[in-house]
């Protein structure tokens, strides 16, 4: 995840815009309650799935069901005034279903196009989420997505400042979105 984060920091710095550099001196500490508001994450997921897949997607608060052995995880790093990551994770079947909705194509396995689609979903979720808070929208960059697929792996983040972890459902399929913040300016 370190490479993803470096890329996001480079993106945040890469604008070279003096106005942006000046506004980066602002602090997010006072608005941490706004940033960590779970409503923003739910609204972002609903917006991305409605607009890009044409489906209604809602947060699921029930017990976690059967977990598929093969999964797909996408990570988009945040850099700048907030450092951390947006992590999307689903089973292979859900990833294939999402990619099929996005492209209108049929898939039988998690191929490069499915991974590309999941990476883009994560990118849009990260962008929509940070766009809900004006200070973040202006002063926090996004990395290009990194996508992992396979079996028996875990993503570990050490002692985050805050973390949001929600499960969502659409058309009988479920996935997880996690926002991890490990540094605020």
């Amino acid at each position: 995840m370190l490479g993803v984060r470096r890329s996001a920091i480079a993106t945040a710095r890469g604008s070279g815009n003096k106005e942006m550099e000046r506004t980066m001196t602002c602090s997010l500490r006072e608005s941490v309650h706004l940033i960590s508001d779970p409503v923003n994450l739910d609204a972002s997921v609903e917006e991305v799935f409605r607009m890009m897949l044409g489906v209604d997607c809602q947060r699921y608060l029930g017990p976690v069901g059967v977990v598929e052995p093969e999964s797909v995880t996408a990570v988009v790093g945040f850099g700048g005034i907030l450092s951390g990551a947006c992590v999307f994770r689903s089973g292979a079947t859900t990833a294939i279903k999402i990619a099929a909705h996005m492209t209108g194509m049929e898939f039988t396995e998690v191929d490069d196009t499915v991974k590309d689609g999941i990476g883009e979903i994560c990118n849009m979720l990260a962008g929509a989420w940070k766009g809900k808070v004006p200070e973040l929208a202006a002063n926090c960059g996004l990395s290009v997505p990194a996508v992992i697929s396979g079996r028996d792996y875990n993503i570990h983040v050490q002692a985050p400042e805050f973390k949001l972890h929600h499960i969502f459902n659409f058309e009988g399929a479920s996935f997880e979105v996690t926002i991890v913040c490990d540094g605020l300016q």
Partner: protein, 127 residues
């Protein structure tokens, strides 16, 4: 409408397909699409092809969308051709940077075909 020759620049092949589908849904037919996975690939396309419209992502590896836009202008490629940025970055600051670099339009991801239509059609009419 006469043929609309369009360059779509995005490092995601899925996003390029979605943008193409949105353009078709917006009524841009017949549509001829050239695809590029980075700004530098986009410049190569423009050296060999005449286009009527350019849509580009901003956050891409190798050469990002803003540098791509600056290079189009610096090398006088596609003069007078409208460029629309399609990106997850949505702050006023990012929009201002894109406009300063020479973009005529800005679409935030996620987007609908209707939003693509609203931003793109007036630019083609004016070009």
């Amino acid at each position: 409408m006469s043929e609309v020759r369009t360059l779509i620049v995005d490092d995601s092949s899925v996003m390029r397909k979605i943008v193409e589908r949105s353009l078709r849904q917006a009524g841009l037919e017949p549509l001829v699409v050239f695809e590029a996975g980075s700004g530098s690939d986009g410049l190569e396309v423009l050296k060999g092809q005449q286009v009527d419209l350019i849509l580009s992502d901003i956050n891409m590896p190798v050469m990002d969308g803003l540098e791509f836009l600056r290079q189009i202008r610096a090398q006088n490629l596609a003069p007078g051709v409208p460029v629309v940025m399609i990106t997850t970055e949505s702050s006023e600051e990012h929009v201002k940077q894109a406009i300063q670099a020479g973009a005529q339009g800005y679409i935030r991801k996620p987007f609908t075909a209707e939003q693509v239509k609203e931003r793109v059609l007036p630019l083609l009419s004016a070009a």
